[in-house]
Amino acid sequence: MRRWLAAVSITMASVLGLAACGGGGGGTASQAPAASGGGKQQVEVFSWWTGPGEADGLKAMRKIFEEKNPNYTFFDAAVAGGSGDKAKALLQSKLQANTPPDTFQGHAGAELQGYIKAGNLEDLTALYDELKLKDVFPAQLVEQISVDGKIYSVPVNIHRSNVLWFNPAVLKEAGVAAAPKTIEEFLAALEKVKAKGKIPLSIGSEWTVTHLMESVLLGTLGADAYNALFKPGADWNSAQVTTALTNFAKIMEYAGDPQDDWQPAAKQVADGQAAFNIMGDWAYGYFHNPPEGGLGKKSKTDFDWAPAPGTEGTYLWLSDSFTLPKGAKNRDGAMAWLKVAASKEGQDAFNPMKGSIPARKDADQSLYTDYLADALKDWSSNKLAGSIQHGVAVNQPWLAAINEAVGLYVGSKDVKALQQGLADAATANAQ
């Protein structure tokens, strides 16, 4: 009898032990936010802003939110990892388990299509009407983030993807008078730098090559033809695209050894080892910020910028935005957060820290200096085109297919296969 009891008690203990393990295994991000003391309700805000700059911006916006909403506490469910790789995977599993955060960050535009199609997001058109957001956001932006006339996210900032960063000293040494304005000038400048023995164009991991390709596509095709590539029935097999990809291949011949990520590639320009780098404007923060988070370089002397060759007058944009998932535990709290994110005050607190410009047209211009002043000016006057790599123009599966084609191209150098791959990706995923 005693042995019996012992066996049963061990069994029970092991079952309970396992259950305890299962419950306690999550990290901070998977903790279920519960109503905390004092009658305050938590609002779980899910993002991938944990790095310097971006986390500071989130903090600034959080402060405004908490001042305006004394009934709510802010629960920061940020998951570390560049461009949201890990955050998106965790988010996917949370959505599938039907335990969404109250609001989550996502790139505005086609990247959200997967969530919309799966019925994960609430339509925010009513919020846009209530706050008259259609009047303060550029019309083309509203059009590019609308899906069947409905809007599902509130953009808090705008980044620019088509920026050519260069080292003025290296250009001078190579005899290049000014930043190249066309692809032809760019190729000539690359050749001159090569003759001096420096790296003409620095690149990072494979996604930075896709990033480069989108700028070359835009620079060759022009904004209208570029934007048309993402409409249903677009012809990726056209001769124009062939020309663009041939340009891309020619430019890639001048690329240096691939670096680990975009930062080491940008650093080669800052250090004067390389002449050019095409990267989004988050590179400005990296060049310019003091040494803890950046390189502490002087703008215009140590590094300088221009629109990527052939893309002057077009703003190849991307935007971080917040959404309202269906089944959010604290829907009212999430709405309160979205209102702060959409407000002039919220965006002006967030963006100077993050190193981006606000999506609103009525922002306080004096807060944005140096590069950001340039960006703000161009944003209000330029044509808009959506970034491929950063989730505006194409949805996630489409982007994965494009990255696959580009990754295979890096190995094979086969332009024809690249075009076929891009065309297949479009046919399989366009909607």
Partner: protein, 293 residues
Amino acid sequence: MRRARTWLPGLLLVAPSIILIGVFVYGMLGWNFRVAMTDQHDAVSEGRFVGLQNFIDIWDQPRWHLSVNHAIMFTIVFVLGALALGWFLAFLMEKGIRGEGTFRAIYLFPMAISFVATGIVWRWLMNSGTQERAVGLNRLFDWIGLPQWQWFRDQEWGMAAMALPAIWQMSGYVMALFLAGFRGVPEELREAARVDGCSEWGVYRHVVLPLLRPVTLSALIILGHISLKVFDLIVAVSGKQIVTDVPAVFMWVAVFDSNDPAKGATIAAYIVLSVAIFVIPYLIWSVRKERRS
């Protein structure tokens, strides 16, 4: 009742593990194969049964060929490298050297580190910069006048370089296995061989090595299955890049980036099958051996 008393406590004791393994290992495996045989190619569709279609279609994709080739090259270099280095380390220590405990700890130490941490260190060591831009191993090679490499970024041999951190990590463990094997060879057998006129090399070749066969086989199984499902090391060193694509990374991309559960499940099924090719013959062999003895 009396009989129940003899078997029931034992069964109750193991029942939780049997149930949990049944559900979370074999149940999930079954579920995976089920998904792999449907056309559920996005997050929302239900998915109809299509049989082995996905298993055939994936061979049309250039990326799949690439990732399989990469996995094969990685496996060959890693398994042979770790076996050879582990055997050599054990051989050095076999005769009993001074401070053996310390060496054992040093050689075994890498195994205590996770593949992710190893990967982050080796990512720097295997930086592809050359000449004045060299860091890590290339800096060292530059300094002592050896040629510098592209390491894992090399299109053809990159996966061989990727196997280096894995060899670094696992060879100490293989050494421990072989050392136990060496020590398990009775001294009398060696003596007998020497008396029969065997040279010291002959003793190894004809007596010790044949007796090491079971150890070698276990090491092969352990290394082989680690190698075929390798994921964390690759992602830590190079991220999800095509240049170092392996089936496990491709599976991650298929599920989380392409939102294609059926494709991901198909790749997972191939990984399980490839591991089974290693493990099942071993299981059969060991069961037979146990029966014989």
